[in-house]
Amino acid sequence: MADAGTQQLFELWRKQLEEGAAAWSKLMSPPTPPPPTDPMAFWRPMVDQWVQASARAFAQTPMTPDALAQWKQFLDQSIDAWSRALGQAMNTEAFAQMLGRYLDQWLVASAPIKKAGDQAIDQALQTLNVASRSQLTAVAKQIVELEERVERIEEAVNAVLRAVQRERA
């Protein structure tokens, strides 16, 4: 019993000595910088979990190309679900109203810019003595009208020819 008591006292003394020495060395030495932050620390448990889960999955079933097909199926189903959700969101009065308002604002904002741009280009082309887009469009319109006239004349001539042929027959 006495031996055990001595041993306990000795252990207590040793512990106090060690802690005291540690406290003194800590006080005397320069402050240690904090350990660098690990950017992966937050994600590590999740990555470890994923690795473990994958390992278990590999252990239970051998990896086959079916897994890729299943992945594709999952992807298709996800896209389909998204498509349906978006479809529902867009099939609302609120979305139609928002779209209409956005389009109106865009038209109101772009109209003067477009007009000013067209005028500037027209003036520049006029200075260079080159036909402008509006002039070319006007010529094209005239050609279309001319074509229509020719068609009408062609139809009239054909009608006359048919009538003459009928009379001859």
Binding site: A55, D80, S83, Q97, G100, A111
Partner: protein, 377 residues
Amino acid sequence: MGQERFADIVERFAGGYRDGVASEPAPDTVRRWQEEIERQQRRVQNLAEMIFNPTDPKVGCTPREEIFRTNKSRLYRYQSRRTHRTPVLFVPNLGISRPYIFDLLPGGSFVEHMTREGFDFYLLDWGVFGPEDNGLTFEDCVAKILPKMAHKVLETSGADELSILGYCMGAPLSVSFVASHPEVPVRNYINMAGPIDFSEVGLFGLWLDRRYFNVDRFVDTLGAVPADMVKAGFKLLKPTMDLSTNINLWWNLWNDKYVEGFNALNRWANEYVAFPGEFFRQWVRDFYQGNKLYRGELVFGGRPVRLASITAPLFVVGAKEDYIAPPACVRALIDAVSSRDKEYVELPGGHISLIAGRGASLHCWPKVSSWLAPRSN
């Protein structure tokens, strides 16, 4: 159990489990992995080919001749055995897209199918309109262009009657023509995915509602509807389409036949066509906002457009997953006409897959040709 290193997992994956958890992979698994690796190689090869050496797909291969043209519009007659006496005039949509989708690739072409079945097949290509055509209206198409086309079909075929097939917007265009021109001898009429009752037209109907969409401001500002605007409208209708298309392309990239079809379809799907301004104004105001065709309130060229005046045999085809012209708005034609011989079928697929692709060749085309054949002699 201690934590496994990733390298351990890879080692086990490659070499199997020696601790009895899993043994050597089955020969079938190995063979399938080999196939998958070969496919992966083909995918990379085809992708490199698509990026660095893109080839222009040969579309519209069925032989044809141009028999009439007016402004930008062309009427084509396709070569065939012409075993059926009544010619067929096919009227597709104006604007939006090019009509070579109907003759996309040999073996996957609606035109090829119809000509092989012995129909004297005519296609109206409305053409690509420019700013000089901004004054063209829906009414001009119905009252001026379509009568000329029908007349040319009868003249060149030598037939007394013709059948008319309208697809998409081509259906309201051609049905307006048929309803307002009772003197034109229409033997049969077919509506494929063409909207008729615009109160049931879905998303576009809501977005173009007069409370939210000011068509006058739109046309007055822009003059026409640019191709990019048309594209944006259709992309918005199905925002996930591009993503799923690209995923499916990657998945099937090893398959040369799929890649060939994809190239052709992709070229078509990205070639949008502008709308003439006045055409768009009338299309939105009278059809989407006014539903005047279905209500019988349209007057084109001084003639009333009454669907009830149509008495020709009628065949209507709707697509179950059509979000551009939902089945309900297509089917409405059945109840609106006075025809006694009329039939409606609703087929699987969407607006495009109804007329193009493998599904169409199995489900849709044979139905159309088998309905039309006995009524064309």
